[in-house]
């Protein structure tokens, strides 16, 4: 009973959060339209680069044209999620710290990490998210001839884990604002590194491959989901993805709690 009441409060809060976020954005219609156009241009650019490679007969790390499209689909999907939730919410943490409005979040009887991570939503990223999913499925069918329902289910899991990993990494970086106040640059570096996920990880030199697997989990974000969907990956990778995601999420929560001990609140 207590659990359902607690859940109800969070769900109702989320509904209000997103309702007001949409209403705020509709105050500026043109901006929403521009975001949509920018997204389509970015996807078109990625497709063009891939097409140029394969037209010349260059195979990226042993991946077929359609296989590489699955990776691009996974990237597009995560990029859509970034534009929908991560970027709008997590980039505000820095502003909250700088202007001292984090105080209002901390004064509320609700989990502050929940508030900071889901306060707003930008629907301009949704088409990209759906487009990415569609691209993944279409390219997988084109490559394999058919889709294995088990593989689709496993891909959903791995993609979910990828999203969680990406979120946690970003949240930890944004949290460092508590100490350093301005950390936009750090999140920009992260975003740039993650754009490496457009292409299969095996297309990169060995050194970068190691970096993208162990240090920045780019491999887990796009290549692993693609491999799972194409049926080339074992269950161990699925488990590893979930493990990485849960570990990262736990780290982000602990890190946030630690950071709050050092919060000094911008003076009024």
């Amino acid at each position: 009973m207590l659990g359902s009441c607690w859940l109800g409060r969070y769900l109702r809060t989320l509904r209000r959060f997103w309702g007001t976020a949409l209403a705020s954005q509709l105050e500026y219609q043109l901006n929403a339209l521009i975001e949509l156009v920018a997204m389509l241009a970015s996807l078109g650019g990625s497709l063009l680069v891939l097409w140029l490679f394969y037209r010349q007969g260059v195979e990226l790390g042993g991946w077929s044209w359609h296989g590489a499209l699955v990776v691009l689909g996974a990237y597009t999907c995560l990029n859509g999620l970034t534009s929908t939730l991560l970027q709008p919410n997590l980039s505000r943490i820095v502003t909250h710290v700088q202007e001292g409005t984090l105080d209002f979040v901390l004064l509320k009887p609700i989990d502050s990490q929940f508030w900071l991570s889901l306060r707003t939503v930008s629907p301009a990223g949704l088409p990209e998210l759906l487009l990415g999913l569609a691209l993944m499925l279409w390219a997988a069918v084109a490559d394999q001839g058919r889709l294995n329902p088990q593989a689709v289910l496993a891909t959903a899991l791995v993609l979910g884990a990828a999203a969680l990993t990406l979120y946690s990494l970003w949240f930890v970086l944004a949290t460092t604002a508590i100490w350093f106040v301005k950390t936009w640059n750090a999140t920009e570096v992260l975003r740039a590194a993650l754009s490496a996920g457009r292409y299969p990880i095996s297309a990169f030199p060995a050194g970068l491959r190691l970096l993208f697997t162990l240090v920045l989990p780019v491999a887990f974000l796009t290549t692993v989901p693609a491999e799972v969907l194409l049926g080339r990956s074992s269950g161990a990778w699925v488990l590893a993805s979930a493990g990485v995601a849960l570990t990262m999420l736990t780290i982000s929560r602990l890190f946030w709690r630690l950071a709050l001990r050092y919060y000094t609140s911008a003076s009024s």
């Binding site: 809060t13 500026y28 004064l107 509320k108 000094t264």
Partner: protein, 334 residues
């Protein structure tokens, strides 16, 4: 049983020490020097439920830091703190639901939307039922004289209307303890008076405890029978406002305009000379001697105009801190 209790409260900040200019900036970038800043030092006080207490002190005296400690935003460096039966820095749900903090310089309302949208968000966050929330909004809006402002985008509201809406948002969950940091900052005289009246009504009707800082002494004199005076992080005085005035200024100020200049030696017989500028004189005279001295003045000197006034409290406090004599006054028996 006190609802707010601070014992030996301390807060130290580490702040960067940066010299101006390019050389200073480069040195700051490579080799940062830090200074320990004691914002709050060994502050102790108790507040009983329903009290309205004014928190006085100059800029940087430690008022806001203390309020942030009390509301759990920052962790104390030492000492004990209890508010509404909780330790603030743990930020438990029961604690956060029992308090509110209003900051005159920061706003929580969503800029592009009407206040009503922000109020709905707050209702959800505090787990207040829609029906109850509607009733409370109506009640508070009436007390605050807010009407159609609630359905107009916040960015279109005047500062006074916005502050009233901020107050509504901060009080929707019926907190038992109100921490108000400069709630009337920047408001015109009418809006200040209305906010003040609202706070007095709210305290009377709900029995909520209020701790208030303000730069406007009128807020403090109108609302707070008791004041805490803080200077350089130390609690300097805790007691009745009237008693503080008597303590700081056991005299009245008498302004005279004379028909002709009188020598200082001659004027010195009536009281302490504060200012002597030709025929314009300001004398300080103790309340017991006041009637006699005025009689003498009027009969013995060519007085054209005369005015007696109580020195404004902010002037007294300013003078006190300027003098630098900041030995804490003995605590009032309460």
């Amino acid at each position: 049983m006190a609802i707010v209790m601070a014992r030996g409260l301390r807060k130290t900040f580490r702040v960067a020490d940066k010299q101006p200019g390019l050389a200073g900036t480069l040195r700051h970038l490579v080799n940062r020097r830090w200074q320990e800043l004691e914002a709050v030092r060994e502050v102790s006080f108790c507040i009983e439920p329903g009290e309205v207490v004014g928190f006085l002190g100059g800029n940087g005296a430690g008022k806001t830091t203390t309020l942030k400690l009390l509301s759990g935003l920052i962790h104390p460096s030492g000492g004990e703190l209890e508010v509404a039966g909780h330790r603030p820095s743990r930020r438990q749900r029961g604690f956060l639901e029992a308090i509110t903090l209003v900051m005159g310089q920061k706003q929580q309302l969503i800029w592009d939307l009407p206040p009503l949208d922000s109020l709905r968000v707050n209702a959800a966050v505090y787990g207040i039922d829609d029906r109850v929330a509607r009733r409370r909004i109506a009640e508070l809006a009436e007390m605050l004289e807010l009407g159609e402002e609630l359905t107009r985008p916040v960015r279109k509201l005047s500062l006074g209307q916005r502050m009233k809406a901020e107050l509504l948002a901060a009080l929707l969950h019926r907190p038992r303890v109100l921490f108000l940091d400069e709630p009337t900052l920047g408001l015109d005289v009418n809006a200040q008076a209305r906010v003040r009246q609202f706070l007095a009504d709210y305290n009377r009707s709900t029995g909520a405890t209020v701790l208030l800082t303000s730069h406007y002494m009128a807020d403090i004199t109108a609302l707070c029978p008791r004041v805490l005076l803080i200077h350089q992080g130390r609690l300097f005085y805790d007691g009745a406002l009237a008693a503080l005035r008597e303590r700081l200024a056991p005299w009245r100020e008498v302004r005279l305009e004379l028909g002709q200049p009188i020598s200082a030696a001659q004027l010195g017989r009536y009281g302490e000379i504060e200012q002597l500028d030709g025929a314009a004189v300001r004398l300080l005279i103790s309340p017991e001697r006041l009637t006699g001295a005025l009689n003498q003045l009027l009969t013995e000197l060519p007085v054209l105009d005369l005015e007696v006034r109580e020195p404004p409290i902010e002037e007294l406090i300013g003078r006190l801190f300027h003098r630098g004599s900041v030995e804490p006054l003995p605590q009032q028996q309460r």
